[in-house]
């Protein structure tokens, strides 16, 4: 009867076994005890921090919808950027420029990134090359985007003697590459080993196993990574500043200065004209909608289980 392991506190109280009760640690906690109070205050502070952290996102979205939405019409989407005192105008050429350069960057970075990921995840995961490429890819994800612009300026713009959509696309590709590699590697490593073993057992070569089993099975994860990389590239303006520069006209060739939404927002935001500032908000709204679309797509694809 005196063994506290066999009896609950309530039973001891009922039995009025005072000696046994005294031997138990006090597990009751009152709300105004110092340690409970401290815990409660910290919990409240965490809630406040969490709510405060969502204020910027809500504020940005509110401003985009109110300021950008009021100006977003067909003219804004299709017309050319206005000059200083001109009214109206739009950013049609910037939309085309962004699409072309992001498309170019995707065409360059996805094949290279996929093949590199195949090497990292399946062909030779523990080789010295794989270890260093993995480390460098992770380092590159923290690579300042402006330096990608400096690099492409030095490597491409100087030798081509002109700012161009091509240089802009390549600069964005440099930034997309590590995201694609790391996401694709992750996705391919998730493919169950027994599926690969079964394919090898059927007499498949390594290329066939990768092409017919690993890539289709890992496709959702890979696509998620690609979508996120595209969303990141679309909003990135620093590398385009002095590779693609800007242009007030529609794109006619890949080797001439090219407009993009992000650079247009940057240029117009500092102008003292109401018209340009309104257009900067409208362009931001378009840009954010495209980026959020890709983010949501990435989430939907990524959620599908295989």
């Amino acid at each position: 009867m005196n063994d506290p392991h066999l009896t609950t506190t309530a039973e001891l109280i009922a039995l009025n076994d005072l000696e046994a009760l005294r031997r138990l640690p006090n597990l009751d906690r009152t709300p105004f005890e110092a340690r409970t109070l401290k815990s409660g205050i910290l919990t409240a502070l965490t809630w406040i921090a969490a709510l405060l952290a969502s204020v910027p996102l809500l504020s940005v979205i509110y401003m985009l919808v109110v300021e950008g939405g009021s100006r977003l019409d067909w003219e804004a989407l299709t017309a050319l950027p206005p000059s200083a005192f001109e009214q109206g105008g739009g950013f049609g050429n910037a939309i085309i420029g962004t699409l072309v350069m992001v498309g170019l960057a995707t065409l360059i970075s996805v094949p290279i990134g996929l093949f590199a990921a195949v090497y990292l995840a399946i062909l030779d995961p523990d080789s010295r090359l794989a270890h260093s490429v993995r480390f460098l890819s992770k380092t590159l994800t923290g690579f300042p985007s402006i330096l990608a612009g400096v690099f492409i300026y030095a490597a491409l713009v100087v030798s081509m003697k002109t700012y161009s959509a091509l240089a802009g696309g390549v600069a964005l590709a440099v930034l997309m590459l590590p995201t694609v590699v790391l996401a694709a590697e992750q996705a391919m490593m998730m493919v169950p080993k027994k599926m690969k073993d079964a394919a090898f057992g059927m007499g498949c070569t390594r290329a066939q196993v990768i092409w017919k089993v690993v890539l289709p099975t890992g496709a959702p994860g890979i696509l998620t990574g690609v979508m996120l990389a595209i969303a990141g590239a679309a909003g990135n303006s620093a590398p385009l500043l002095f590779t693609a520069l800007f242009s007030s006209y529609y794109l006619t060739s890949l080797t001439e200065p090219t407009a993009s939404l992000a650079i247009l927002i940057f240029n117009f935001s500092g102008m003292p004209y109401e018209n340009q500032i309104e257009l900067a908000w409208a362009a931001s709204l378009v840009l954010v909608m495209v980026i959020l679309l890709f983010n949501i797509l990435a989430r939907i694809i990524g959620r599908r289980k295989y």
Binding site: A53, P56, A116, A154, G235
Partner: protein
């Protein structure tokens, strides 16, 4: 011949077969391309360092190390120095780290320590992740037209009342360090939060159960058990967040005021390396471009070192838990 060994097997009803000669050639080609692509990434990084380093070399020969310690940037006289930019880069990133890091870790705790139920936590995590999806220029625009007008009266009141404190020693007229650091904090918050969430998730569940079993309050468990156990992972999150802040460009170029001065004041305009590149590069002549290349090399060196440290800490953190399992 070894192949005779299988000759008695009837393959007519089977889909399996040994690879043909063409299959083998394709296999070799495929693996060759994969090897080349992996090698390409290695070569790319080397090429980036060589290209920026090589273009910075003439300026390094001309200005030497005094480039890092002098604070004039004058194209007419050909005098270039980036001390104010180095100061601005480190100071703004540090302020962002204090604010964004604090909030980021708080949110990681909020998301992992049973503050919200499953689907609500997932929804909140999405909000934080979307914070990272908003482009830098849009934050810049928001900073100019929302944040600065909002901050200016507060800043000027602080200057009037507490002007003797060095942080408030100048009035705020417009763009400056304060709004820039605030936006920077918002931008690195998701990085810090998501890496910290991973670090907290790595702590074995039984560790938390054991703490609660001892009768700890929620915050005793968090402060004395969870945070110390996930400590190196959270440190990695903070270092990588700091690295992200160092290289952030567009929002800073729009908000920091691009002024070549060193001041402790939160409200005075300043400049950073990345913002200097963004604002000066497009219109620079050949002499200035050389100096800017040197500045780019300095930025590259700082960010590579900080990121390498962050990744090393993260690797150490992950390995610790793998050993325990």
């Amino acid at each position: 011949m070894a192949s005779h060994y299988f000759d008695h097997i009837d393959r007519s009803g089977s889909v399996s077969s040994p690879p043909s000669a063409i299959d083998n050639i394709l296999d070799r080609g495929f693996r060759g391309i994969a090897w080349l692509s992996a090698g390409f990434i290695l070569a790319l990084v080397v090429y980036i360092v060589i290209e920026i380093g090589g273009k910075a070399l003439p300026a390094f020969a001309t200005y030497g190390f005094s480039f890092l310690t002098s604070n004039t940037w004058n194209v007419q006289t050909g005098q270039f120095g980036i001390l104010p930019e180095i100061w601005g880069t480190l100071y703004s990133s540090l302020l962002a780290l204090i604010l964004g890091g604090g909030f980021g870790v708080a949110i990681a705790i909020f998301l992992t320590q049973d503050f919200l139920q499953g689907h609500l936590a997932a929804a909140f995590r999405t909000i934080i992740e979307l914070l990272a999806a908003i482009p830098s220029v849009v934050y810049g625009l928001w900073g100019i037209y929302v944040l600065i007008p909002l901050l200016r009266p507060v800043a000027n009141w602080l200057h009037d009342e507490f002007g003797f404190i060095p942080f408030f020693s100048t009035p705020m007229s417009g763009p400056g360090l304060g709004p820039a650091a605030l936006v920077l904090a918002i931008m690195i918050l998701p990085t810090v939060a998501s890496i910290s969430v991973d670090a907290l998730h790595q702590v074995p569940y039984k560790v938390k159960e054991a703490a609660y079993g001892m009768g700890t309050t929620r915050w005793e468990a968090i402060l004395k058990v969870m945070l110390p156990t996930a400590g190196s992972g959270i440190l990695a999150a903070l270092v990588l967040g700091f690295g992200r802040a160092l290289g952030e460009t567009m929002a800073l170029a729009m908000l920091i005021g691009n002024s070549n001065q060193i001041s402790l004041s939160l409200f005075s305009p300043a400049n950073t390396l990345a913002a200097l590149l963004a604002s000066s590069f497009p219109e620079a002549g050949p002499v200035e471009v050389r100096a800017l290349m040197y500045a780019a090399l300095v930025l590259l060196a700082i960010t590579l070192i900080v990121n390498a440290i962050g990744l090393a800490v993260m690797k150490f953190a992950t390995r610790k838990f793998e050993a325990e399992r």
